[in-house]
Symmetry: C2
Subunit: 293 residues, 2 copies
């Protein structure tokens, strides 16, 4: 068995994954729980990391994600685009000197403003591991979907859409809410939603979904898939995807399949990547770049 080198924590808003990583990059052990940033009290992060070390081993820890936000452990100032592995390493925030560091997020300040925290490790990992080329368009669907344009192996620019949050807002709080209780599936109703998205009438198409059910013209069980198709279709169509180009998608299988269908509908080619493998490749590349370990 390889020697334990460091612990990587992908510490998000609601979930957390910790990996014990060997000097050759192999994952020795993984922990996963729902101790996301929002369920850790201020001042308790040191203790949380100590508990993880007790379980995985007494080695340095690298944390990525919302743990570096104002709601997290400490705020790690963003690196700016264009940003590669080196830029992240330069801006590491050592919360326990030599022992525990937080990886900064990335900000875009030129032109349109945007921010990410955690996704930078995945997209850079996808490129350094060769899963995606150094010049590519990557997509990370989710509550806030990220579209990242890589150039020469660096994050050149990116755009975040509140696609997943919008679906949740509509389902939990809008007049359409009662119509959106069914599961979303990548079937004909979802495809109809994608088609609807080409009209570019999001605000009125959403109202029309309710009217069609009220008027008995459509099955309410199709509405969630249609609205998901409308939102994801709008998200994908808002991006500049070269004709016949490739979009590398980092997502779990269910959401990834929806985005792959939406990308295909635009004439581009979706390629699904393993987001956990990309994260591990990225954080290992960061670890390897840190001096003096």
């Amino acid at each position: 068995m390889s020697e334990l080198a460091f612990i990587a924590i992908d510490w998000g808003t609601t979930n957390r994954r910790a990996y014990a990583i060997a000097s050759d990059g192999a994952v020795i052990q993984t922990l996963r729980d729902d101790k996301g940033v929002l369920s850790v009290a201020a001042g308790s992060f040191v203790g949380e990391v100590a508990k993880i070390r007790k379980r995985l081993g007494d080695v340095p820890v690298l944390c990525a994600g919302m743990v570096g936000s104002t709601r997290g452990w400490v705020e790690a100032p963003y690196a700016q685009c264009p940003a590669g592995i080196d830029a992240l390493v330069e801006r590491l925030v050592w919360v326990e000197p030599g022992r525990t560091a937080i990886i900064p997020g990335v900000a875009q300040l030129h032109g349109r403003c945007d921010v990410m925290r955690g996704e930078e490790v995945q997209v850079l990992g996808a490129v350094v591991s060769g899963m995606a080329p150094g010049d590519a368009l990557l997509c990370q669907p989710g509550t806030h979907s990220k579209w990242v344009r890589m150039k020469h192996g660096q994050i050149a620019d990116f755009r975040t859409a509140m696609t997943g949050e919008m679906f949740a807002l509509l389902r939990n709080h809008s007049l359409l809410g009662d119509f959106l209780k069914a599961d979303v599936v990548a079937g004909p109703a979802f495809q109809e939603g994608l088609e609807l998205a080409t009209d570019n009438h999001l605000l009125s198409d959403l109202f029309g979904e309710r009217a069609a059910v009220v008027l008995g013209q459509r099955d309410v069980d199709d509405t969630a898939s249609r609205v998901s198709g409308l939102l994801i279709g709008s998200d994908v169509r808002d991006q500049v995807i070269a004709a016949g180009g490739t979009v590398y998608i980092l997502a779990d299988q269910a959401l990834g399949a929806l985005y792959a269908a939406a990308v295909t509908a635009t004439g581009a080619r979706p390629v699904m990547l393993d987001s956990h493998a990309a994260f591990l490749a990225g954080i290992t590349a960061i670890w390897d770049t840190i001096d003096g370990h």
Copy 2:
């Protein structure tokens, strides 16, 4: 003083206005309160109307608006486009025979589905009174903004956008919520939002508004006006407005001014109409068309 002819009630979801109307169309008296449909228990509508008669006079009552929805007194089946005053009169639902009637809403079933309840009285009133021509595009901004195309004095087709509801969802429930507490004003920030709407990137532009404030690039007090401009600008740009054409806006002054600015930004000409006067003209035309009174 003219003789009292009938009582008109504009009975919406959260508010109610009752008008005592003379045989010559003049308004003798007006009542206004917050006894909207949602605050009247099922079975209490008869009593509510009796109370209004006690105050305004013992004459026939015509009700319009959400009082004719499933959440109202009884569900009044929609008239279908194209619909004029005659179509509404044909489908009146007499909840108290010869005494109290509910005016149906209008549904669009050909092509895209859509529904309205209450707005039909306003738009037809605007045309029968000569406030707007018989072939015109009318806009009724609000929680659900209506865009109504009139042809030969009838409602030919229409489109509803959930613009106002979307702003409320974002302010009350989204990650952007804390950034949207300021009042919306039709100033430079609102104009910037209108400009942003021309990009057609609603889902990502919304996220960008938060990022710009987080990165210290923009004053948080501007965000509500910018987001309002982005939403209203998207709403207006989704409509087919002929180049240099006219949009007749039926709204209160504050919201009307925002839509007028958005219409102007597209190169069209806004004309503000008095929505209460339009409602009165419409319901009086309906009254005059009913046989046998």
